[in-house]
């Protein structure tokens, strides 16, 4: 029927031929998914015969399982609602089970009463585009991951640096403080030592002068001797801080010592305040100079009194503790007795707390404070192989703890 085209004439084209060989795959599909028609391009791309598909397979069967879900949950509702879908990315499963990426467009064709009768689907081979998209997606993911990794690194880096810097600052601060106390101790100790010698010389000369004096002269000399003795008491405390004091450490039963000192402590504490003692009988003995420890507790009671002008409670207690290696106060690992004096007074702010144990540091008016109380306690504790620990906050009271080694 068809004549071979005459030379120079255009080749024959029909709508049918265009449909079959279009650069898209055409599919007509019932609303239930049944394939009603498929063009030759689709058959070529998928490797199916028309007889394998038309009236036999449903369109979702040409999709992967994920694609089928997407078809039911996204594509079908979209077709119903807007009559078309555009550029749905699908993997189409070929007859041999391999897949190729496609972009799908779809339109609803309606029957005479306007009801959806067929979906016309066109598929575009999207191999190149999908490969490009995948690359793009991968690149984006890599960029995001790199960004995320960098962010995390930055965060942890900051954190690491911060904690390390803090740790070093704390260590440096502790060292600086220890060195300062050491230097102060040396200085105080040697000054006190020289003074003590001077006081000794003055005293022996006073004694000689006393023998050569009349009644009136002796009264003046007795005053002088008392002053020298007060001076000696002061230098003793300075020596104590400088750890230059001659100590006589013995096995001390703390319960006995503290109970025995009750009167002394109550008097130091003054009438408006309450003293509570909490030292168990069964503690192991401490190795310490008993007289000096008593003196130390007295100093703490005096401080508590000054800190509680409106009345309060001082609790003196003792517990058995153990120090692990790396103790911040530099204690050697082992068992210790911790003698604590807790008051309910005004407490100390950070700056006061930091300096409280330094010799001559006082916040009290001249005549009331010498600044040698806590420094003496510090010296005693350190010279005994223990340490002093202060804990206080403004308005929260103060805990002064003396750590002493257990007598072996």
């Amino acid at each position: 029927m068809t004549q071979p085209p005459s030379p120079g004439a255009l080749p024959f084209e029909s709508a049918e031929e265009l449909y079959e060989n279009a650069p898209f795959a055409y599919l007509s599909v019932g609303t239930d998914g049944q394939i009603a028609r498929a063009n030759r391009t689709l058959l070529a791309w998928t490797g199916y015969e028309a007889a394998d598909l038309v009236g036999v397979k449903r369109f979702p069967e040409l999709l992967t399982a994920g694609g089928r879900i997407f078809y039911e949950t996204h594509v079908q509702p979209l077709l119903r609602l807007q009559g078309t879908v555009n550029e749905i990315a699908y993997d189409i499963v070929r007859a041999d089970g391999t897949v190729f990426p496609a972009l799908m467009n779809g339109t609803v064709l309606r029957d005479g009463e306007g009801r959806p009768a067929l979906y016309r689907l066109t598929l575009l081979d999207a191999s190149d585009r999908r490969a490009f998209e995948r690359e793009l997606q991968a690149a984006r993911r890599r960029a995001e991951e790199a960004g995320e990794a960098l962010r995390r690194l930055n965060e942890t880096l900051e954190e690491t640096v911060r904690t390390e810097v803090e740790r070093r600052l704390r260590a440096e601060e502790a060292l600086r403080h220890a060195q300062k106390m050491e230097a102060l101790g040396q200085l105080t100790g040697s000054v006190a030592h020289d003074f003590n010698n001077l006081l000794g010389a003055i005293l022996s000369n006073l004694e000689v002068a006393e023998r050569h004096s009349d009644e009136r002269g002796r009264r003046f000399l007795a005053n002088a001797v008392r002053s020298v003795e007060r001076g000696e008491a002061l230098t003793q405390r300075m020596l104590a801080f400088g750890r230059k004091q001659r100590l006589n450490p013995t096995r001390v039963d703390l319960a006995g010592l503290v109970t025995g000192a009750r009167d002394l402590l109550e008097r130091s504490l003054g009438p408006g305040n309450r003293l509570v003692l909490g030292v168990p009988e069964d503690l192991p003995p401490a190795l310490v100079d008993a007289n000096q420890l008593e003196l130390a507790l007295m100093n703490l009671a005096v401080n508590a009194r000054h800190a509680m002008p409106d009345g309060g409670t001082l609790t003196v207690s003792a517990t058995l503790e153990s120090a692990a290696g790396g103790d911040p106060g530099g204690l050697a690992p082992g068992d210790y007795l911790r003698v604590a004096a807790r008051d309910t007074g005004i407490g100390m702010d950070e700056a006061t707390l930091a300096k409280a144990a330094e010799p001559f540091f006082t916040t009290k008016p001249a005549g009331q404070g010498t600044g040698l109380g806590l420094s003496m306690v510090h010296g005693l504790a350190a010279q005994s192989g223990g340490r002093l620990a202060l804990d206080s906050q403004p308005g929260e009271g103060t805990v002064v703890a003396i750590w002493l080694p257990v007598a072996g």
Binding site: T31, D32, G33, P60, T64, A65, G66, G67, R68, I69, F70, Y71, E72, T73, H74, Q76, P77, L78, R80, L81, Q82, T84, V85, N86, E87, I88, A89, Y90, D91, P101, L103, P116, R130, E133, L136, Q137
Partner: protein, 262 residues
């Protein structure tokens, strides 16, 4: 933010009996078009979008709350509370069937009836239970979602979702219905398809109608029968309609079955 704003709630109808429609995974409230036409004259119809879908407030998406179906059920209950709804007829499609189940277990007194369209308590196959999908199938879905993100959804949807005050942008979008935020859609896919609510079914005390389609690729007949067997006193109606969305593909049949139950 009110639940009404968060979930883009719309109230339609002349009736007094409240009927709340919960759309399934992949769509939004626009899928209820034919149901609204059929029930508006004698019901008070409440439509909404799950957070992440349609006109919901994306900033309300909370990965923790919305990391499980209970969070979506709590959203539904908040809408009910805010509107002071009682004797509610809850119509849930697909994943929202289970969301309704969870909501009715938490506050049974609020619900008069549940209509579950294409419900599945568990999409993944377990020994002895056939949900219809393997884990790999469902991972494949996520891949399809990703591919489609780079098409229209990936390039256009964020622009639109980020500009709720410029609705004209939505007109430009070639697929303008059932918009979802791509990232949320991805997570919602996981929540939907990896949930297992089989043990919740016996705890339902509200009267239940199950609408089961023929040849539903998402919720096969055996799954519908499983739901029916495990919800005491539930009624199962097998529709002639095929596919997963009978309320869109066969609205008349769906409406008849619902009316008979209500």
């Amino acid at each position: 933010m009110t639940a009404r704003q968060r979930n883009n709630v719309r109230i339609i109808g002349e009736g007094t009996r409240p009927m709340i429609f919960a759309h399934g995974y992949g769509c939004d409230q626009s899928m209820w078009r034919f149901m609204v036409e059929a029930f508006a004259h004698d019901h008070r119809i409440i439509l909404f979008d799950h957070v992440g879908a349609g006109g919901s407030d994306l900033s309300a998406y909370d990965p923790e709350r919305h990391g499980g179906l209970q969070g979506y059920a709590d959203d539904v209950l908040e809408i009910c509370r805010e509107l002071d709804l009682r004797d509610v007829v809850f119509v849930g499609h697909s994943v929202s069937a289970m969301i309704g189940v969870l909501a009715s277990i938490r506050e049974p007194e609020r619900f008069a009836k549940l209509v579950l369209i294409g419900p599945s308590p568990c999409y993944v196959n377990h020994d002895g239970y056939r949900g219809g999908f393997s884990r790999e199938d469902l991972e494949g879905l996520v891949e399809v979602l990703d591919s489609n993100q780079l098409g229209w959804a990936g390039t256009m949807a964020p622009v639109i979702m980020g500009n709720p005050d410029r609705p004209e942008l939505a007109e430009e979008l070639r697929n303008s219905f059932c918009r979802t935020d791509p990232e949320i859609a991805r997570r919602f896919a996981r929540v939907t398809f990896f949930s297992d609510n089989r043990h919740d079914l016996p705890r339902v005390t509200t009267p239940v109608l199950i609408l089961q389609c023929a040849e539903d690729a998402i919720a096969p007949e055996a799954v519908g029968a499983y739901v029916h067997d495990n919800i005491p006193g539930s009624r199962l109606v097998r529709l002639a309609a095929t596919g997963h969305c009978p309320h869109m593909s066969a609205p008349d049949e769906t409406i008849r079955a619902m009316r008979a139950f209500l």
